[in-house]
């Protein structure tokens, strides 16, 4: 592009060499910027510009020194020889009209510390929530130690911690219905006659819903019962949905579909997938 390609107002401020007012005025502009006296033969627009900028750097106008009293007070209070020395000064000292809370600049160290603490707080909260969830799940699975399980039983209606007599009693009274017994407990698989007489259906073998022989790790392995199809999704649900659940589980199976107490065949090896 050359000077003849652009109209004067198309590229304002662009110094076209050779154009009047182009680079040739630079010494004069430097004289204005350096506050030096212009030569008398300088163009009138340069003189006008110099006069305009002289007004810009003129004396103080009304109101421009209005803050002097506040600044002097701040100097007396926080200046080099003040008792407070170089302590930080509140921002509203010089401008009482300003709200300190609105204009106070946050301390960077404190702000970064707070920012750094936020993820730690979230992480701790998440860990506590996850731990609590695990404890509740373990309580309903009956996998907690005895005292803790008793506490869970009392507070969130988790299964009571089984003892040998309790499990035997439950086996024969049918109270263990829908609850998995503690794997550490080994109920008597051959109840006595006295116990069997107490069963609701005389002569039938009491059947807890989960075989005591099935360890927790094998709990999901149940042989398919004839007529019940393969393991549906609800077999993975706890039979007792908890105290907050007032209805029946969806798709409740007939009793014969529930796993029996007979010693099942050895589970599929835990190493098989």
């Amino acid at each position: 592009m050359n000077p003849s390609d652009a109209l004067p107002n198309e590229m304002p401020g662009f110094p076209f060499p050779g154009r009047p007012g182009g680079e040739h005025d630079e010494p004069l502009l430097d004289m204005i910027l350096g506050r030096r006296a212009l030569p008398p033969d300088a163009p009138p627009e340069i003189h006008d510009l110099a006069r305009m900028l002289a007004a810009l750097s003129g004396e103080a106008e009304p109101g421009e020194l209005a803050a002097e009293a506040d600044v002097r007070a701040a100097f007396t209070r926080f200046g080099p020889m003040s008792p407070s020395g170089r302590s930080p000064v509140p921002a509203h000292v010089l401008h009482p009209a300003r709200r300190p809370t609105r204009h106070r600049r946050p301390r960077r160290s404190g702000g970064s510390a707070r920012r750094a603490a936020r993820p730690r707080t979230r992480l701790a909260t998440g860990l506590v929530a996850a731990l609590g969830g695990l404890v509740i799940v373990a309580a309903y699975a009956g996998a907690l130690p005895g005292p803790v399980q008793r506490l869970a039983h009392a507070t969130v209606a988790a299964p009571a911690p089984p003892s040998g007599a309790q499990v035997t009693d439950k086996l024969h009274k049918g109270h263990a219905k829908g609850r998995r017994t503690h794997p550490a407990a080994t109920p008597d698989p051959h109840p006595t006659q006295t116990h069997s007489a107490a069963t609701p259906a005389a002569g039938s073998t009491p059947r807890p819903h989960y075989s005591p022989e099935v360890s927790p790790s094998q709990g999901n392995h149940r042989p398919a019962t004839q007529g019940c199809g393969s393991d549906p999704w609800w077999h993975d649900l706890p039979r007792s949905p908890g105290p907050w659940y007032r209805g029946s589980l969806p798709g409740a199976q007939p009793d014969h579909c529930l796993p029996d107490t007979r010693p099942s065949k050895p589970p599929v090896g835990s190493n098989q997938y």
Binding site: L53, F78, P80
Partner: protein
Amino acid sequence: MIGAAFSVTLARAQGGDESAFARLFRDIQPALLRYLRVITPEAEDVAGETWLQVVTGLAGFHGGEEAFRAWLFTIARHRAIDAGRSRARRPTSQLDMEELTERYLSPDAADLALDTISAREVVALIAKLPRDQAEIIMLRVVAGLEPGDVGRIVGKSAGAVRVASHRALRRLAELAELAGVTR
């Protein structure tokens, strides 16, 4: 500009002389306010914060008058940037820079005569320049800083500052002519 008496005035102010500090304030405050009016709508507040920082850091300053001005205007620029960031974070009504410029800076056309033009009216004209050019002009003309000092403040080379200031002056001459200030 205080001139030859600056070093004595500064030393007295650093020794706790309030009247010496007031002299420094009266010498620089008008230029500081005019500069800040070009770059921020909160000029008075930012000027107050600037002086606050000058008060607390005055004992540690070493240098001449130009270095003192460069230090003070650097502080002012940083505080203006902080104010801009704070303003961006605050939910405020739509009162943007253009409106503020119209309210506080725009001169009445009838008042724009070269013989009677005030600093505020010239600031209004300079505020119409591109932001970087306006800031450079204010630092060169109002603060009286050399291109090297201005370049260190605005992050440009001295040559770039010189070119930008020339362009700004040419553009300012055009604006003044359009506004009827000059012939």
